[in-house]
């Protein structure tokens, strides 16, 4: 990011606390986004992702903390800007198109009729239809569109009011895999081309990593880690967090007094004493396999191969441990084969408490 200090963040959420009934749904949550940044909120169902979006949109009133859009304070103790004054583009799950309006009227819905002339509104609607690749669909009714098309229209409707921030709540979750990837790329490109600040809620790890500038990992109403996709993927702050951004092996390990780490793929033969016991996190793709088995190498037996096409997940028994290793194609390993394993990648050690 450019000079961060001089720049006002597009969105600044600090120490947010939200109660629904007596249940604390968000707790001391902070998040900031620079203009044009796209953030992905990643976390399991029920961790508070949607609640955070709805708090930002003003649909829920937080009990503590504050929310700023740029310099404007929209939520802080008694201050609560109602949702219709926030200029937020909100795309909820499954789009929520207005079933009684056609596509053009859906898109034009939020454009202020007191400010813009009919021609201007028609023009904007046309632009939005073109922008989202929905030219010619203006006269259709929502129920005549496929799920992906409905999502496009929902996005067009959100962008039509030139929002300061766009909030997308699992917009692709109802779509099948192929369409999903394609539409996701389209949507992200569109948001980037408009330099729109956006938050994308997802529970799909890959979707978050591929789309966002910032990944915010949520657990039980808190953001437990945030950073660039590379950071959160390669430097998780705990074994549990590692799993939430991708497949991970969590193996027994101990840190020795000489600074080296002893684990199954790196047995230390020195006499240094174990100082701290804990776990090491390895990504399955960080283990390399080879057929050159020797007495010096760490060897294992392939028990299963799950073939995914572009890569494969190989289950290997090493001593009494079961490891998962991801190997790229082309594949020349077979079940029952003995292979040598080598860990090439960062050593992420987490001491036991």
């Amino acid at each position: 990011m450019r000079t961060r200090e001089a720049q006002v963040n597009a969105l600044e959420v600090s120490h947010l606390k939200v109660l629904l009934g007596n249940k604390v749904v968000l707790d001391d949550l902070s998040l900031s986004l620079a203009p044009g940044q796209i953030a992905a909120l990643l976390g399991p169902s029920g961790c508070g992702k949607t609640t955070l979006l709805r708090s930002i949109a003003g649909l829920i009133r937080p009990s503590e903390g504050q929310i700023r859009f740029g310099k404007q304070l929209v939520s802080f103790s008694s201050v609560h800007l109602p949702p219709h004054k926030r200029k937020i583009g909100y795309v909820p799950q499954e789009g929520a198109l207005f079933p009684h309006l056609n596509i053009a009227d859906n898109i034009a819905f939020g454009i202020d009729r007191a400010v813009f002339t009919k021609d201007q509104i028609r023009q904007t609607t046309k632009e939005m239809l073109a922008l989202t690749g929905m030219e010619g669909f203006g006269k259709r009714m929502p129920h005549q569109l496929s799920g992906g098309q409905q999502t496009r229209v929902a996005l067009a409707r959100a962008l039509s009011i030139k929002p300061s921030i766009v909030l997308l709540d699992e917009p692709f979750s109802a779509l099948d895999a192929e369409l999903r990837t394609e539409l996701r790329a389209d949507v992200i490109n569109l948001l980037r081309s408009q330099n729109t600040t956006a938050i994308l809620v997802t529970h799909d790890r890959e979707e978050g990593l591929v789309s966002a500038d910032v990944i915010a990992l949520m657990r039980d109403g808190k953001i437990v880690q945030s950073g660039s996709p590379e950071d959160v993927y390669s430097s998780p702050i705990s074994p549990t967090i590692a799993i939430s951004t991708g497949d991970a092996l969590v193996l027994q390990a101990s840190k020795l007094s000489d600074g080296s780490t002893d684990y199954i793929l790196n047995p230390i033969k020195s006499s240094a004493n174990s100082v701290t016991s804990g776990h090491i996190v390895i990504r399955p793709e960080e283990i390399k396999l080879s057929k050159s088995v020797s007495s010096d190498s760490i060897n294992g037996l392939i028990t299963k191969i799950d073939y995914y096409g572009h890569d494969a997940m190989v289950a290997i028994d090493v001593a009494d441990q079961h490891l998962q290793v991801r190997i790229p194609g082309p594949f020349d390993f077979n079940v029952g084969q003995n292979v040598a394993l080598e860990h090439v990648g960062p050593v992420r050690f987490f001491a036991n408490n």
Binding site: K23, T50, P82, P83, H84, I88, G89, Y90, P99, R157
Partner: protein
Amino acid sequence: MLTTSPAPIEQQHLPVAQSRSGWRVALLAAVGAVAAISMIPFVYLLVRASDKPIDEIIQLLFRQKTLEVLATTASLVVCVVVINLILGVAIASGLHFVQLPMKRLLVIPTVLPLAIPSYVFTYTWVALVPSFSGFAAAVFILSISTIPYIILATLAGLRSIDGSQIEVARSLGLNPAQVFSRVVFPQIRGHVSAGALLAGLYTMSDFGAVSLLNVETLTVSIQNMYRASYDRSAAAVISFVLIAFSILFVMANESIKGRSTNKQLLKSLSVKTPLIQKAYLQFASVLIIIAFAIVAVIVPFYVLLTRFFSNPVAIDWASLASATFSTVSVAALGAFIALVLSAPLGYLLSGAPSRFATVTNKMVVIAHALPGVVVGLALVSIGSKLGGLYQTTFLLALAYAILFLAKSVTSMSSSLARVPNGVKDVAATLGMNQWAVVKKVIAPIAAPGIGIGTILVFLTAMKELPATLMLRPTGFETLATQIWSSGSINRFNEAAPYALILVLVAAIPTFLISRPDKEEQSFNYENAGGPSERS
């Protein structure tokens, strides 16, 4: 509320292998028979009216008396419908959108008045206010009798709107009032209009309240002509005015419904509507509901109970018991006939309905719009020609079935449509023949809905007055006729026990099958941190 429930989400109708033609022919014949039965009143009235020379008909139609009565009926309907629309939509919106204390208690008055016939309402209010009479009184009584139709229909419409649409509209810059007018209302218009139709038809066909309150509407005119002068041809002619009025109403509703394209996009709602917590709205909602509860529930029950317990006249327990038995048995027979008649038509309508089925359904709906007076008049005349049927409880039960067949058909077809096609196909591939599929798959899935429809016919039949008065065998007394023949208002104390029993017998099932509180129940649970918090 079955008669106004929104159409079930359309299933895709895959081409089905042509079923055996014998079965098909039998089904169509059965539907034809149902159509014929529904048309009995029309055919009779047509024949009757044509007895009169045309110039006499014209004279009858345009004499001042007729025009006055027509004007009274029309203004009564307009007043009741307008009041209902305002209050009903307001109460339903309050219940749906506003966070209210004890919501489960507050919804009770939205259905309970359905159990109280308009003539019982009238009795109780007259007992309380002796000078209670005239047009304004009729507007009042018929409004409280019919508001539940609009409340329930509106609630059903409101519940079909996904809360996320409201949230999106808010985020797009609409204030709550704009959200209501641009997002909510266009989508519930069809429901509201259906509720208004029911209220309007009820008002048009009401006989008990208006005649007690000395308001001469078309139904009272018809009854008078029939009773006083036995001029059935004139009664038939005036009946046609009433029918034309009803059909006009049904058509207006159809056109409103047709324009509101509330095609559901989603199979289930993803977001519950957020509840408003503004104090003044909470206060206003509770106030208006309590006020309604007082005039429509508490006053009638209070009067009935006090009259029952402080009755100077000894209660005739034997006649009370026999009237209760007669009421229940003839209403049950009527509901059973309606159930049987609705089966073939309901079955045809649940699939991809043919033109024939749709037209037949229209006939049934129009028969539903016929006032009891008209159907009674038709059957009483035909019955006297049939000899054996005349003066039997069967003829009365048949009148109930014709009058309320539409309720039964609606619940039959929507319950059958709820059976997924895939399930039927799977059952067939598992080796079941057509009858086994019906018995083991379709019936168990559809039975609860069909049962509710049948109970609804039963309840409505219990309260029916004008047709009962005309068609009952001599000496056969139901609760309704006993209340009526305790007759003049000063003898209300004698009617009180019958009215109380009727209301109590009707109230409990009315509440149980409507269950307007059900939604709130689950909503509270989720609001308290149940599984619907998705994020």
